[in-house]
């Protein structure tokens, strides 16, 4: 049966728990003391060519991402779990068993690292109000077209309108740069404070406004692996970092997506 079906892998854990459907009904493949959560998928949808097209289709992608995530989070809520990257498809179950045996030690390392811990996401947004960009943006309208009159020699006060505009604009940019630096410094400080409460932490790139659905600048997109007993403490600390034009958004707990790095090979 190598022709028309493949084995889709969601996650690897040490024990089997009950699971909702993902991209298909979910079952487990056991090997080397580990369990892989998998579905049988049609290659008509999950083969190379179909995926080449459907991964460009955001509707398909969002349905698949949610299905994948549903399985991962269910397993992670019940037992230490290593989530696997979206659309990882093997030829058959035997390939998955081989994988579990070949990478057994790596998986066990990852699983012991996340045991008793949960991932939290912290996104920090800086609102537009703190950004003095109005001068720079409005500058174009204030400019006057006449140039000859102001060009009188000996008159120290009457400067070219163009010069005044450029100076205003430069001042606006300087102010904006200063605000930006302050925000970045504050984000560094927040990340350090949250990392101190975590077993591990990492900063991800700022999320695209299309993904976040927000236009404010994202100054921190952090992930934190926190001992279960410290969840509330962490949440309180995160909440306390906001205010003063800065908004903190806490998400989680997540399956440890950000802390299950294994060398690809």
């Amino acid at each position: 049966m190598t022709g028309d079906a493949g084995t889709y892998v969601y996650a690897v854990a040490r024990s089997a728990v009950e699971c909702p459907d993902g991209v298909g009904s979910v079952r487990t493949v056991a090997g080397a003391g580990l369990v892989a959560y998998v579905s049988t998928v049609p290659l008509a949808e999950f083969g190379e060519e179909p995926l080449r097209r459907s991964l460009e289709d955001l509707d398909w992608l969002s349905v698949t991402a949610r299905a994948h995530h549903r399985v991962v989070e269910t397993v992670a809520a019940a037992t230490p779990t290593a989530p696997v990257r979206l659309v990882t498809v093997y030829a058959d179950d035997q390939q998955v068993r081989d994988l579990l045996e070949r990478r057994r030690d790596d998986f066990l390392d990852v699983l012991s690292h996340v045991t008793g811990r949960r991932e939290w996401g912290v996104k920090v947004y800086a609102g537009h109000s703190s950004e003095p960009s109005a001068t720079a943006r409005g500058g174009g309208d204030a400019r006057k077209p006449e140039g000859g009159d102001a060009h009188k020699p000996g008159n120290g006060d009457a400067r070219k309108p163009g010069t005044a505009y450029l100076e205003r604009r430069r001042a606006g940019l300087r102010g904006r740069e200063q605000v930006r630096r302050q925000l970045l410094a504050r984000a560094d400080h927040m990340h350090a404070a949250l990392s101190a409460l975590s077993v591990a932490s990492c900063r991800h790139r700022a999320q695209d406004p299309h993904l976040s659905g927000r236009t404010e600048m994202m100054v921190l997109n952090g992930a934190y692996l926190v001992d279960e007993g410290r969840d509330e403490e962490f949440a309180a600390a995160a909440g306390g970092l906001g205010g003063d034009g800065v908004e903190v958004r806490l998400t989680g707990p997540w399956a440890p997506y950000s802390f299950t790095v294994m060398e690809a090979r």
Partner: protein, 107 residues
């Protein structure tokens, strides 16, 4: 070991996404399932899929490159998924955007 049932803190409505905290939105989920988690190579399809996921990643990435760089976040410059050609594309996109911004500002 199993903490899905009674030991769940009252503040948490469901295992993932509790009251008082925002539930996972699609952006958060996509960010995680596409960029994080265990990458397993070894199957032929995976190698090819890396290329496909790359195009998605690029699309998500390109609009925010300037923001990310401003924030000092430059992971794509070290991301093994991105080839030199992809970086060139990102650079080119950035240059064009900057050019547009400059033109627009001076009009």
């Amino acid at each position: 070991m199993d903490r899905i049932g009674g030991t769940t803190a009252p503040a948490v409505r469901q295992p993932y996404g509790g009251s008082g905290r925002e539930p996972a939105n699609l952006g958060d989920i996509l960010e995680r399932v596409l960029d994080r988690g265990v990458v397993i190579a070894g199957d032929i399809r995976v190698n090819l899929l890396d290329i496909e996921l790359l195009t998605v990643k690029l699309r998500l990435l390109i609009a925010s490159v300037d923001t990310a760089r401003e924030l000092g976040i430059d992971w794509w410059e070290h991301d093994p998924w991105l080839s030199g050609r992809d970086r060139e594309l990102i650079e080119e996109n950035r240059r064009l955007r900057r050019l547009l911004a400059v033109r627009g500002g001076d009009e």
